[in-house]
């Protein structure tokens, strides 16, 4: 079991490779258990552990409970400010998405850990969950009134059909931009980290004056790591925020 450090260090995309940990095939469907699935389970386990640790409901909260209360208020405030009081029925969805993305991103920052959210299909699935809820709830609550979303008010009737066509395209593009944003941030950040770290290693290995110069990529790597932690948090927050903005469209269409 040689990991082959030089190869890993030089190939910045090797970290995104999927490995099958257990084969599972149903018909033509390949449902193998991969490292990505393992990391998803690990993040779920971490969230469950976090909740368990803070389930004592003490009056004076411990560390885990305090963090959980803070994040509850953080997400609840965000949801209420963008959807109003009735948006709180979506709190479980928004908080789950936030917690899952946050833990997946943060766990991805640990060396040799796979980053689930660096695969666009994962982020796209998350975005599609959000859009399905938006469309499903919007149609269930407003009926055909949901279509007001595509029929903006306060626009001359002559260009209204054109603008509503644009609104439709814009609406369809939402899950794509939502998923691409999270994916691109994680993907680009991890490649950047790996590249600079790889430079540092190969420059140091070259010896001589180059080895002295390797301090530059090493310093950049050091500077990038806290930045990546910040991005990991900010992107989870942005995803949850956009989720609640889209949910407010489902609650009150035609409020553009």
């Amino acid at each position: 079991m040689n990991i082959g450090l030089p190869i890993v260090a030089k190939d910045p995309t090797a970290q995104f490779e999927l490995h099958k940990l257990a084969q599972l095939k149903i018909g033509n469907l390949d449902l193998s258990f991969t490292n990505s699935a393992l990391m998803m389970l690990v993040s779920l386990a971490c969230i469950a552990l976090w909740f368990l640790l803070s389930s004592k409901k003490e009056l004076i909260p411990g560390r885990a409970q305090s963090v959980l209360e803070l994040s509850y208020e953080f997400i609840a405030d965000m949801l209420q400010s963008s959807t109003g009081k009735e948006g709180m029925r979506f709190f479980p969805l928004v908080f789950s998405i936030f917690a899952f993305i946050l833990f997946a991103n943060m766990l991805g920052m640990i060396p040799f850990f796979f980053t689930t959210t660096s695969h666009i299909i994962v982020t796209f699935a998350l975005a599609m969950i959000v859009m399905c809820v938006v469309i499903g709830f919007g149609v269930w609550k407003n009926g055909f009134g949901f279509l007001k979303l595509f029929w903006p008010a306060g626009i001359p009737i002559a260009i209204k059909p054109f603008v509503s066509l644009l609104e439709v395209i814009s609406f369809i593009s939402r899950p794509i931009s939502l998923s691409v944003r999270l994916w691109a941030n994680m993907f680009a950040g991890h490649i950047l980290l790996k590249l600079f770290a790889g430079f540092a290693i190969s420059m140091f290995a070259a010896g001589g004056l180059t080895a002295v110069g390797s301090i530059v990529p090493f310093g950049l790597t050091l500077a990038l790591i806290p930045l990546e932690f910040l991005v990991a948090f900010v992107q989870a927050y942005v995803f949850a925020l956009l989720t609640s903005v889209y949910l407010s469209d489902a609650l009150h269409p035609g409020h553009h």
């Binding site: 593009s173 939402r174 944003r181 930045l227 910040l230 925020l241």
Partner: protein, 121 residues
């Protein structure tokens, strides 16, 4: 042995509480400029990716819709062309909307606190 002694000394000196206050002031002064440059540069990349994804997603969707119309109606190049044009328009609309909404649309540039509300006004 030293612990009760130290505590006794601490109480006996009248200036100790002032000393502690001064120390706390120094620590507070040190803590204030905290991680602001990092946040700025992090949101720069996130900001760029935000507009890029908003724009390109709309163009992709428009082109895909146009291509689909072509496939269904057999109007070979024109559906794709029209779809691309519509996608461009929708992309620009997305970008303008994202820039206008700013904080409620994306939020990476500001924390959601009421602390910053006065900046908007």
């Amino acid at each position: 042995m030293t612990d009760p002694e130290g505590r006794a000394k601490l109480h006996s000196k009248p200036t100790d509480i002032d000393e502690l206050g001064r120390k706390l002031d120094i620590i507070n002064a040190k803590r204030k400029p905290d991680a602001e440059p990092v946040q700025a540069s992090a949101s720069n990349m996130a900001e760029g990716l935000k507009y890029a994804s908003e724009f390109s997603a709309a163009v992709l969707v428009g082109a895909a819709l146009g291509w689909g119309v072509d496939k269904l109606a057999g109007t070979s190049p024109f559906g794709l062309l029209g779809g691309l044009f519509l996608g461009l328009c929708a992309g620009i609309m997305n970008v303008v909307r994202a820039a206008k909404e700013g904080m409620d649309g994306s939020g990476e540039d500001l924390p959601p606190d009421e602390l910053y509300e006065d900046e908007d006004a």
